[in-house]
C-alpha cells in the first residue's frame, strides 16, 4: 500500500523513521518494527525479527526424535502442552502409532487448560498495552497460577512441561488431578464474569479497540492467518472442527466468530473461546475412562529414544493451538534422527499482515494491534 505525505504550503514536511524495539516492553520480547511516520500516523511498517533465532529446526535434525520434545516447549513458552501435542501428532502420523483412550482425554484436557492459560494471559497483556498497567495482568496471573500448579503436579514443571510422548503421555495424572480440574471448571466462569465486568464494556477499551486494526476476511484467509485472529475476521474455521484430530469430534462446542475483524473482536473472540473450552473440559473430565496412558510401542520408544525409528516418509500434523494453526512437517529417512523437521508457527505467519493492519493508524494503535495478534517471540524466531 502506498501512502502520500500531505504537502503543506507553509510547512516543510517529511516522514520520520522510527525503530520501535527490539528492546521495548510493548513488543512482548525482542521484536522490532521499523516504522515511517507522518506526524503520528504510520505510513510504512517493516517487521524485523530473528533476535531470538537459534535454528530450532537444525537442532532437531541433530538429535533423536524424542530429543526435540523438550525443545518444542521453548517455542511458545506459554503453551508448552499444545506444542508437545502438535509434535506428537505429526510423529504419530508418520510412524502410525495408536494412542490409548485415556491418553487422548488427558491430552484434550491439557490442551484446553493451556488455551485458558494463553487467552487469559493475552487479555491481561493486551490491557497492559492499552495502558491499564498490570492490574488485569495480575488478575490473569492469579488464575493462570492455579492451572500451572496442576501442570507442575503432573509434569514436574510449570511452564516447560515436556509431558507428551509419541503414543500417549509421559505419566498418568495424579489422583487429585481430576477433582482439581473440576474445581477450576467451576470457578473459571465466575472469574471470566468478573474480568468481563471490568473490561468488556469499559468505555476506554471500546474507544481504543473498536474499528482499529481491521483485518478483512479475504485478506485474512489469503495471508494464512489462523486461530482467533482468523475467526475474529468472521471466518468460522477451527481445526478442531475441520480436522477432527484426537477426539475433538466427541465434544459439542461452538466456534465463536467476530464481525468487524478489529482489535475488540479479537479480544472478545478469545473470551468466548475460553467459555467454550470450559464446556469441552467439563465433558472430558466427566467421560475420562480408566486405562493405560501410553501405547506399548510408544512406551518402548520413550524408554529407548535412539531405537525409535519411524519408517521413511513425511507427515504434516497440525492442531488448533491457542495462537492459531501450529503444524509440524517431519521427514524421516528411516534413521533415529529426523531428516527434516519444520515448524509452521502461527505467531510468525500471523505477523505477515501486521503492516496492512497498521497503515493509517497512530503509533499507539500499532502497539495494541501487535498485542492483539498475540505473538511469542520464541515461536516467531525459532
Amino acid at each position: 500500500m502506498e501512502y502520500e505525505l500531505k504537502e503543506s504550503p507553509t510547512l516543510d514536511t517529511q516522514a520520520l523513521e522510527v525503530s520501535l524495539g527490539p528492546q521495548h516492553p510493548s513488543t512482548h520480547g525482542v521484536f522490532r518494527m521499523n516504522v515511517k511516520l507522518d506526524g503520528e500516523t504510520i505510513v510504512q511498517l517493516k517487521p524485523v525479527m530473528g533476535y531470538l533465532h537459534r535454528n530450532h529446526e537444525k537442532l532437531a535434525e541433530n538429535m533423536s526424535w524424542l530429543g526435540s520434545m523438550p525443545y518444542t516447549d521453548r517455542l511458545d513458552y506459554i503453551c508448552s502442552m499444545t506444542n508437545n501435542f502438535a509434535y506428537a501428532l505429526a510423529v504419530e502420523k508418520l510412524a502410525g502409532l495408536e494412542v490409548p483412550e485415556r491418553a487422548q482425554y488427558v491430552r484434550v484436557i491439557m490442551a484446553e487448560l493451556t488455551r485458558l492459560v494463553n487467552h487469559t494471559l493475552l487479555v491481561g497483556f493486551l490491557l497492559n498495552d492499552l495502558g491499564a498497567f498490570f492490574t488485569p495482568v495480575l488478575y490473569a496471573f492469579r488464575e493462570r497460577e492455579k492451572i500451572l500448579d496442576l501442570f507442575e503436579a503432573v509434569a514436574g514443571s510449570r511452564m516447560m512441561c515436556n509431558y507428551f510422548r509419541f503414543g500417549g503421555v509421559k505419566i498418568d495424572v495424579t489422583d487429585d488431578f481430576i477433582p482439581q480440574v473440576k474445581q477450576i471448571i467451576r470457578r473459571y466462569p465466575k472469574f471470566l464474569d468478573e474480568f468481563e465486568t471490568l473490561l468488556s464494556e469499559n468505555e476506554i477499551l471500546m474507544a481504543r479497540c473498536q474499528k482499529v486494526g481491521i483485518l478483512p476476511r479475504e485478506l485474512a484467509i489469503n495471508a494464512g492467518v489462523s486461530g482467533p485472529m482468523l475467526r475474529a475476521s468472521g471466518v468460522p474455521y477451527d481445526i478442531r472442527k475441520v480436522d477432527h484430530y484426537s477426539i475433538y469430534d466427541r465434544f459439542p462446542f461452538r466456534v465463536p466468530i467476530g464481525e468487524a475483524g478489529d482489535v475488540y473482536d479479537r479480544y472478545y473472540v478469545r473470551i468466548l473461546e475460553m467459555r467454550e473450552s470450559i464446556k469441552i473440559l467439563e465433558q472430558a473430565v466427566r467421560e475420562i475412562p480408566a486405562g493405560p496412558t501410553i501405547s506399548p510401542v510408544g512406551l518402548t520408544g520413550a524408554k529407548s529414544p535412539r531405537n525409535f525409528k519411524p519408517p521413511k516418509g513425511d507427515a504434516y500434523g497440525r492442531i488448533e493451538a491457542p495462537k492459531g494453526e501450529l503444524g509440524f512437517y517431519v521427514v524421516s529417512d528411516g534413521s533415529a534422527k529426523p531428516y527434516r523437521y519444520h515448524v509452521r508457527a502461527p505467531s510468525f505467519i500471523n505477523l505477515t499482515i501486521l503492516e496492512d493492519m497498521c497503515l493509517g493508524y497512530k503509533v499507539a494503535d500499532a502497539i495494541i494491534i501487535l498485542g492483539s495478534i498475540d505473538i511469542v517471540l520464541g515461536e516467531v524466531d525459532r
Binding site: H53, I221, Y316, G327, R340, R344
Partner: protein
C-alpha cells in the same frame, strides 16, 4: 474429498503436456508449469485452495524440494500436498506470494535457511539470520560450529 490421483488426472487434462507424479499422498509438479497450476488450484471452484498453510524446503542432497500444504477454507477440505523440485546448482522456484500472501514470510524463511531463490517474490531478504550472513544453515553441507561429526561430502 477427492483423491490425489483424481487431482493429478484433472490437472493433466487442463494443462496438456505437463506430466505430474504422485508420491505417497503428495503431488510432484514440474517447476516450469508450477505458477499456472498454482493459480488454477486457487481459482478453480472445484478445488478452491484459498489457504496455503505451510511452505518449506527440504535439502535432499541431489535436489531441493519445496513442500506446500494447501487447505480450502471455503470447502473445509484438505490437505493437498504439492512438491516442487529444483536442481541443487540452480535452486530457483517460482514464487507463489502474488497468489497467496501467506507465502511471503515463509518463502523468505526458506530462502534464508536453505538458499532457495523464489522468482517473483516482492521482497526476498533474509528474515531470521542477519544481513551479511554467508551461509544457509539448513543445507545438509553446512558446517556447524563445534560439529562432532564429519562434514558431509556430495
Amino acid at each position: 474429498m477427492i483423491s490425489i490421483e483424481e487431482v493429478k488426472r484433472d490437472i493433466e487434462n487442463k494443462f496438456p503436456g505437463t506430466v505430474l507424479t504422485v508420491e505417497g499422498t503428495s503431488l510432484v509438479i514440474p517447476r516450469a508449469s508450477w505458477r499456472d497450476i498454482a493459480s488454477f488450484l486457487k481459482n478453480d471452484p472445484s478445488y478452491a485452495l484459498d489457504y496455503l498453510s505451510s511452505v518449506t524446503g527440504v535439502d535432499y542432497k541431489e535436489y531441493f524440494e519445496v513442500v506446500y500444504h494447501f487447505f480450502s477454507v471455503a470447502k473445509k477440505e484438505g490437505p493437498i500436498t504439492v512438491k516442487v523440485r529444483t536442481a541443487r546448482s540452480e535452486a530457483k522456484i517460482p514464487s507463489v506470494t502474488p497468489i497467496w500472501r501467506s507465502a511471503e514470510f515463509q518463502e523468505r524463511e526458506a530462502y534464508d535457511l536453505l538458499g532457495i531463490q523464489f522468482e517473483g517474490h516482492p521482497d526476498l531478504r533474509r528474515i531470521l539470520m542477519w544481513e551479511g550472513f554467508q551461509f544457509h544453515p539448513l543445507r545438509k553441507d553446512y558446517v556447524q560450529e563445534n560439529q562432532d561429526r564429519p562434514v558431509e561430502q556430495f
